[in-house]
């Protein structure tokens, strides 16, 4: 595995560390994989990156002093994903987070409900969002993270989580509306 030479030599982990890691961190493997999958938009790449992140987490495990193990792990997963993206798909990271939004006609609940029945359509809409919008939505809506957890995982100030989510949701609604012009226009 490509990450096997990273972070070596910091600590030698023993069976006791292993048991603690299995108990505290490993149960969050699904969360790790899910975040990687949505950030990288590929299951195959996510397997590699989640594996690398998990090993990295294990190497740094002595530095984990209790608290929220899921948030701690997801922070590592996210960083590993971004490093991977920078190396393999740098263009994707160039979208500005604070991009000014154009005023949007509000989408009707009915139009969204129709769109929402379609897993494929939601997946595509989510995947068109820049990674920094996508990740707050995935953490909040799929992982059920609190604002505090989102702030610690994504390293954005807690005071801006709410507006980041607001913008991300607006972007998602717009992506859905664009994906289904007939349904959206029916209401306008």
């Amino acid at each position: 595995m490509s990450g096997s030479d990273q972070g070596k030599g910091s600590d030698v982990l023993d069976a006791q560390d292993r048991a603690r890691f299995e108990q505290l961190v490993l149960p969050h493997l699904d969360a790790a994989f899910n975040l990687a999958r949505w950030l990288l938009r590929s299951r195959a790449d996510s397997e590699d990156v989640a594996q690398e992140a998990m090993l990295r987490a294990y190497r740094f495990f002595r530095g984990f002093h209790g608290g929220d193990a899921r948030a701690w792990l997801l922070q590592i997963v996210r960083n590993t994903c971004y490093t991977w993206l920078e190396k393999n798909r740098p263009v994707e990271l160039m979208t500005e987070f604070d991009e000014e939004l154009h005023p949007q006609p509000s989408t009707s609940p009915e139009a969204l409900a129709i769109a929402g029945d379609n897993r494929e359509r939601l997946t595509r809409a989510l995947e068109t969002l820049p990674p920094r919008f996508r990740e707050v939505l995935v953490l909040r809506e799929l992982e059920g993270c609190s604002y505090k957890e989102i702030a610690s995982i994504t390293a954005i100030p807690i005071g801006t989580v709410m507006s980041a989510l607001a913008r991300a949701r607006q972007r998602l609604q717009r992506a859905l509306t664009h994906a289904s012009p007939q349904e959206a226009s029916r209401e306008l």
Binding site: A15, R18, P103, S106, P109, G116, E141, M162, Q170
Partner: protein, 251 residues
Amino acid sequence: MSCDFTRTVLHGYLDGELDASRAAEFERHLESCRECATALGAEESLRSSLHGASLYERAPVSLRKKIRADLDAATSSSVALRIPAWRWLAVAATVLIVATVSWFAWPRVQNSAASAPFTATEIIDAHVRSLQPGHLTDVASTDQHTVKPWFNGKLAFVPPVKDFADEGFPLVGGRLDVLGGQNVAALVYSRRKHLINVFVLPTKEPDTPIHPPGARQGYQWVHWRHQGMEFCAISDASASDLHELAQLIYQ
């Protein structure tokens, strides 16, 4: 969208992240702002679409296996984990024999002749068990006047409970535990990042001084009897820290 709330507070409300007064304020606003009411409906609908679409993707079993192999490789002296599957039975049998033998052969805790009513293994097990998530305290409080009365009616004795935050050993809480088949009080203190369990149970044996510390598997413990109570403090903190706490309790 023109209403400021639509862009911000509405989302805190939707996510249940507003404090009570801000939530109430937003609800009042909602009654008069059509834009927010519509937007809230749209967001709720978007959320239920997201939740209903099974978008969460779980880790495949193959990944789990690869990670376990990585962890094995990165763990020192994980010999047992690399033993071929057919040998597990033999290993299990050996473990059972060793465990049975040591159950009878392991010296009772402490270094003096007067024996404690529990073994080192039992104390270490109880300590390790307490560190599992959610097991540390039944009553979590730094206030000795909360922790002490909590034991009332739960035990046939009243353990002495004192907070030593000023001396560097803040009280974390208390819980009931079982040691050597007896109900005991467990008081939890912290020392920097270490947790210390102090087990307390009544005894008819005479007082002893604080015995020199015992050590095993990276844990230290000290044992003493004082005024009809038997005490055993255990932690991965240093022996001198443990001794210091023992002296504070002893006084």
